[in-house]
């Protein structure tokens, strides 16, 4: 809650920030000792861009998906390729993502994994900007229901 009087806090500071919406994934079935790929469908609201997983400048924060250790082991994460876009605040084009993007994760189940339902938790961290301002890095949690067969 703002400690400032209403005359100070409102329009000048309040901006609609970037929102990364993640479509809840369907249950993922994996055979013991086998692999399966999850495609996470996400979407960044219009007017914003986020750095890709391989930003063009070292000081930029990359898009990153991490999974909390669980019954499945993520063996490969495939990010969308960023497109190069020039902004008024950047000297050279930046590698960014906009709009709808998919992030794929290839999981592997251990041969001795217990059969039955389980849950995996992932976190997508992103940092977005609009044409003249940047917003603090945000993290979106993803819950994945898994069925080990």
């Amino acid at each position: 809650m703002s400690l400032l009087p209403l005359t100070f806090a409102p329009t000048s500071f309040a901006q609609t920030g970037p929102v990364l919406t993640v479509t809840p994934p369907s249950k993922l079935k994996v055979k013991r000792g086998g692999t399966a790929t999850l495609k996470l469908a996400t979407s960044l609201n219009a007017g914003f861009h986020a750095n890709s997983s391989t930003p063009s400048e070292s000081y930029l924060i990359p898009l990153k998906l991490t999974w909390t250790p669980g019954v499945l082991e993520p063996v490969d994460i495939d990010y969308p390729k960023g497109h190069l876009q020039k902004y008024s605040f950047s000297e050279k084009p930046l590698s960014v993502i906009t709009g709808a993007i998919d992030i794929s994760t290839k999981f592997k189940a251990a041969p001795a994994a217990p059969a039955g339902p389980a849950m995996m938790t992932g976190k997508i961290r992103f940092q977005a900007c609009n044409d003249n301002a940047c917003f603090a890095p945000k993290t979106v949690e993803v819950k994945l229901t898994v069925d080990i067969e």
Binding site: M1, L4, S12, F13, A14, L60, A133, C134
Partner: protein, 194 residues
């Protein structure tokens, strides 16, 4: 038009021209709020890179440019060289530039960045308290100009124009100087009064 009217118009034009050229020219800074609309800037104490506490209210009597920024913020990187210049050009006139970094990892990222960009003004690392005090600093850069009375005269969210900053700084430095010296009448006021 009578001779006296012509002379009066000519005198006014000359004064306006003088005002535009003078170091104390009256500037148009649209982002600067009228005095009556200004709120007192919330006071804070943060440590600079040397561990020295920096308290905002200690700068009362000065014009303060308070910049919230982060190393990962591209637009902030555009403005920082301007602020370096403002500090260099105006510190003797009563301007203080303060930068508050909102980097999560604090000095780890900030110290090398400050060195790389050659920042000549005081940098602190912000915390959730100052973020809350200033109404939630969501977008960066967010830059405030605080007048000599410690009141917020303007707020810029996102990159603003360098000229706008320069005009606003000049106006705040000038206005307060003028108000403290009763004998000094700004040229534009003189024209209006005559």
């Amino acid at each position: 038009m009578s001779v006296s009217q012509v002379l009066r118009v000519a005198a006014a034009a000359a004064l306006l021209a003088l005002a535009a050229c003078s170091p104390n020219r009256t500037v148009s800074a649209q982002s600067v709020r009228p005095n009556k609309d200004r709120q007192t800037a919330p006071d804070f104490v943060l440590k600079d890179s040397l561990g020295t506490p920096v308290k905002l209210s200690d700068f009362k009597g000065k014009v303060v440019l308070l910049d919230f920024w982060a190393t990962w913020c591209g637009p902030c990187k555009i403005e920082i060289p301007w602020f370096i210049e403002f500090e260099r050009k105006n510190k003797d006139k009563g301007l203080v530039v303060l930068g508050v970094s909102m980097d999560e990892d604090g000095w780890t990222s900030v110290k090398p960045y400050v060195k790389e960009l050659g920042i000549n003004y005081r940098i602190m690392v912000g915390d959730s308290k100052i973020e809350q005090q200033y109404g939630g600093i969501d977008a960066l850069p967010t830059t405030l100009l605080i007048d000599r009375e410690g009141k917020i005269a303007s707020v810029h969210v996102g990159v603003a124009s360098k000229q706008d900053f320069e005009d606003a700084i000049e106006k705040l430095l000038q206005t307060n100087t003028a108000s403290r010296q009763p004998g000094l009448v700004p040229p534009a006021a003189y024209v209006r009064a005559n």
